[in-house]
């Protein structure tokens, strides 16, 4: 059996940033196991710009952002096992994997989970109709067009207005396809407002809210889809059905953190984020196993993935060096208007703690408050809040030190 101090599963933005942070915090025996040929993860197919403004102070494309971190990994001599698929992680931190050379078993002192997420597929939607060619998940279409140079269709309808769907609406338009519309079952888009503007409005692509696809037509190839409006319970409104001719349907209907390894390791999963339950250092319910990036919570911005991964890398390095904190853990809880709060529990003696959260629905001006018992730990005013945009609140160290009761984050409209 091989032995390494820190084993990182996944070579995307989270895995790379975690590796660099662990190394820079004094643990040099760090390895990355990645199933792809090349480091970079999903960034390799995200050729659009808008990455790095917050973290690197410049606007980069996905491949450029990935290259910055890849360089940092390589210049530190961090070992990367590429085309290596991890098949199991145990509670004792034994990582099993396989690649061209055979089966690999590594005893790690700490493990960082950075496997990212995958797309929800057509099967998850139960859309009736035949099963013709021309139905793609948005990320698959993105990979085909951007990495392999295959165009997926000429007339396209996109279901789901998350950021990937919006980005692909623009990309397909630029490559000469006609994007008929983007349909969103919810009354609001799950994507960033800037993407609605620069991906849809710039190209005159209509966004139909409260609208879904109810049937896919065509035998060999998609010939049309039927869309329909839905009511507040997301039931189809009879009579609102409309047939739209197209040869391609793109699905951008949500991302699922890839936590199969996490579950098998017996790590507690949060039913809302579908990621591990963690503390402020991204440590899971199993000591010495950390999680970061989209496998922990689906992010809107890679910059925040890198931040989170750095916390995980630092946490793992501290664990390996035996510098773990010992104070009691206080749970956090989502209150009014808040869908989830991460981390789900925090130590009280480790200085200021950042809380990340998403709201349940779009709001105008709101005041967030973080409370524990009768104590208000912090408040923050926002001109608007939307589920597609992650919020960050900070609890100051001196407030944290004194608390005993669970921490509740809620909002009020003002």
């Amino acid at each position: 059996m091989l032995k390494h101090d820190i084993v990182i599963i996944g070579g995307g933005p989270a895995g790379m940033a975690a590796a660099v942070a662990a190394y820079d915090n004094g643990v040099h025996d760090v390895v990355i196991l990645d199933r792809e040929e090349e480091l970079g993860g999903i960034l390799r197919q995200c050729i659009h710009n808008g990455f790095g403004l917050h973290k690197l102070g410049q606007e980069l494309t996905g491949p450029e952002y990935a290259a910055v971190y890849k360089e940092r990994v390589l210049e530190r001599g961090i070992k990367v096992y590429s085309e290596t698929m991890v098949t199991a992680v145990t509670e004792d931190k034994i990582v099993s994997a396989r690649n061209r050379d055979g089966i690999l078993k590594i005893q790690a002192k700490a493990v960082i989970l950075a496997m990212g997420c995958r797309e929800r597929s057509r099967g998850a939607l139960n859309t009736p109709g035949s099963r013709p060619a021309g139905v793609y998940s948005a990320g698959t279409a993105q990979k085909l067009i951007n990495c392999e140079g295959y165009m997926v269709g000429k007339r396209v309808l996109i279901l789901g207005s998350g950021d990937i769907g919006l980005i692909m609406a623009r990309r397909l338009s630029l490559e000469g396809a006609k994007v008929e519309a983007v349909c969103e079952i919810m009354p609001y888009s799950g994507g960033l407002t800037r993407n609605i503007v620069q991906c849809l409005e710039d190209y005159n692509i209509p966004l139909y809210l409260n609208t879904t696809v109810v049937e896919i037509h065509g035998q060999k190839r998609v010939e049309a889809v039927t869309i329909a409006q839905v009511d507040e319970q997301r039931r189809v409104i009879e009579g609102s059905q409309r047939r739209i001719d197209c040869d391609t349907l793109l699905l951008s209907v949500g991302l699922i953190p890839e936590n199969e390894l996490t579950r098998e390791a017996g790590i507690a999963i949060d039913p809302i984020t579908n990621g591990a339950v963690v503390d402020e250092n991204c440590q899971s319910s199993v000591e010495g196993i950390f999680a970061c990036g989209n496998v922990l919570q689906v992010h809107d911005l890679v910059d925040y993935v890198s931040d989170e991964a750095e916390r995980a890398g630092m946490g793992a390095a501290a664990y390996v060096k035996g510098e773990q904190q010992t104070s009691s853990l206080i749970k956090t809880k989502a209150g009014r208007g808040v869908r989830y709060v991460l981390p789900q529990r925090v130590h009280t003696d480790q200085g200021a703690v950042s809380l990340f959260l998403r709201v349940t629905e779009p709001f105008g001006k709101v005041r967030f408050s973080v409370t524990s018992g009768d104590e208000v730990l912090s408040t923050a005013l926002r001109l608007k809040a939307a589920p597609g945009e992650m919020e960050k609140l900070i609890i100051p160290a001196e407030k944290l030190a004194a608390i005993r009761d669970e921490i509740i984050v809620s909002l009020e409209e003002c």
């Binding site: 450029e64 490559e175 503007v197």
Partner: protein, 115 residues
Amino acid sequence: MKRDLTCIICPRGCSLHVEGEGKALTVSGNACPRGIQYAVDECTDPRRTITSTVRVSNRENCMVSVKTADPIPKAAIFEVMACIRQLQVEAPLKIGDLILDDVYGTQIIATKAVE
């Protein structure tokens, strides 16, 4: 003139309100100075950075991602895309390598390394 815009410079996406004529515009709603610049540009000379891919002729099934080094006029987007679509390049390529010069005063450059 009165116009409501959403700033696209950063993910914060400020709601901007622009009033005035010609270049004498007042902007409100911006959280940072870049918002003012964006709003003025958007009302006088709207521009976008364009990203796409170019086929690498001496590698099998290989595309290199590219971008305009600076934003180009919004009205020229499809013309520039037509140019990009006709290009082929040869590896090796580094990030920042010139792919096409003099496109509306800027260049098309590689955003990915190909060995």
